[in-house]
Symmetry: C2
Subunit: 304 residues, 2 copies
């Protein structure tokens, strides 16, 4: 049945040591859905303003992303401006103009409510709960969040986490949310809230997945050229959920493979600004990089 994603479609103005781009296509739902579209059908719920160009709509349509839930409101599209230093690990936010996103009330079209896979991208956890009240019974619900909601709406966020199967957040957020410096302890606290699987994103250091009884460690792909890390986390989530929805294999083994596909997609995305690398990506490259991940992590087990 494909994936439903609710999040942002935005303009980004990004400065990295390798260049500066103004008002390029961005947003969590944009990165997520483009990445997932390499694996399965995606329906997107988001809002843009009157200034959102047809060119971007056409691109998303060309990826077979269903835009029936993309509202267009009077006003301007959400616009984020940020800057990265040489280490490219953390963005410094220069400006945030919520614009039409400020009054975003996600309305899930009737035909999307039976979606089997749901991704709640980083939006107000109160809105994430409203989305959950509109969908029927997704097989897998995953969600993301950010430091802003952890500090401003921790109780609402806890309620969301009680309802989701998979929480995908970054390392600093896991520590912040639980008040635990030790990541294993932080993971236990988060899993005790209700999520069955926790995926902790660690940027260039890869991903750790925690369940009640297991840990899976996946590296990031070491790249010689990283141009723009914007959207890497959502691109990861898109590849992850896309592969999961396509395979239908939600066993731990299936989730591990999905994590590698997510990591593959994120590794491509950072090779260029905006979604430019994904625009020229084909599935053969995805498979080739998956095989590189396999080679890169291989070592012999012990006999016996």
């Amino acid at each position: 049945m494909g994936i439903l994603v609710v999040g942002s479609v935005a303009f980004d103005s990004v400065e990295t040591p390798f260049g500066k781009m103004d008002s390029i296509l961005g947003g969590s739902a944009t990165y997520f859905s483009t990445s997932a579209s390499f694996f399965t059908d995606v329906s997107l719920v988001a809002v843009v303003g009157e200034d959102f160009p047809q060119e971007h709509v056409d691109f998303l349509k060309s990826r077979n992303i269903d835009l029936g839930g993309l509202a267009r409101e009077s006003g301007k599209t959400f616009h984020w401006k940020g800057k990265y230093g040489y280490d490219l690990n953390e963005a410094q936010t220069l400006e945030t103009h919520l614009n039409v996103f400020e009054n975003f009330k996600p309305v899930i079209p009737a035909e999307y409510r039976g979606a089997d896979y749901l991704f709640l991208a980083n939006i107000d956890p109160v809105l994430q709960m409203e989305v959950l009240s509109q969908v029927q019974n997704p097989r897998v619900i995953a969600c993301d969040t950010m430091n802003f909601w952890i500090s401003s709406k921790p109780e609402a966020l806890k309620k969301v986490i009680e309802r989701v199967d998979i929480l995908i957040i970054n390392e600093g957020e896991a520590r912040q949310f639980t008040g635990e410096a030790n990541l294993v302890k932080a993971a236990k606290k988060i899993l005790s809230l209700g999520a069955k699987t926790l995926i902790v994103k660690r940027g260039e250091y890869g991903v750790l997945m925690f369940t009640d009884s297991t840990i899976f460690a996946a590296p990031a792909y070491p790249l010689e050229e990283v141009f723009d890390p914007t959207g890497a986390g959502d691109t990861f989530a898109g590849g992850f959920m896309g592969y999961l929805a396509n395979s239908g294999d939600t066993s731990e083994e299936g989730i591990r493979q999905a994590i590698i596909f997510g990591s593959v997609m994120a590794s491509f995305n950072v090779e260029d600004f905006s979604l430019n690398r994904l625009k020229r990506l084909d599935y053969k490259e995805i498979e080739a990089r998956y095989r590189s991940f396999k080679k890169m992590t291989h070592f012999e087990g012990l006999a016996g």
Copy 2:
């Protein structure tokens, strides 16, 4: 033929959020040789002062470490005082008293000069070169260094790297030494100096190994209790070289397995202060944790 290690035997005074220990056994050669001793024979070249207690000598002997190269000079033993915050990633050095280590001139006993495996722990690169001039023709030479030598003696360090097979340094040092923020570029620069294999230690994020044509990524073992990271890097190197010397397999596959054994040893070492965890470690635990690393990193490859 076992391993020869040249480095420091020291006292450490360490403060972490979990406790404070005064004048406990430490030093790069101590951690290295104890770790390696679980796999093979080790001979140690270092210097201590008159205050170095028989208890520590007895411990090292109990690990079958050959102390024929442990000089005892008049004066005090090298003493390092440091402190870690909650993230435990980086030590803050509070005091360094070189004491007898200040005039350390490594003299390799005749019976050690034919060693097949040589580890040059973190000492002045000029002294590392002097060690190289005393040994015959080791099958594998590995070395470590630190930020202090990178900034104060970069040319001497380059000469050492030209001569070694394997350089084992941490991520920040790789960046500092090459002036490259990107780790893949930094690795290429280092390999172009002559080392065939570069192992980059990333603390709780594991290890990356680079050769001319391959990359191997190994995670660190996620621990719920990390008491004291002191010596983790040398313990890694000891497990790594120890396994390599014992197996004699210096193929890339053998090096990958050795990296996992090194990671296993480091993961035990940080579970207690000083070498306390290694003192109560047995080989079955090492194998069990190696198997945990295998499970933790496993994912299915693609068909075909």
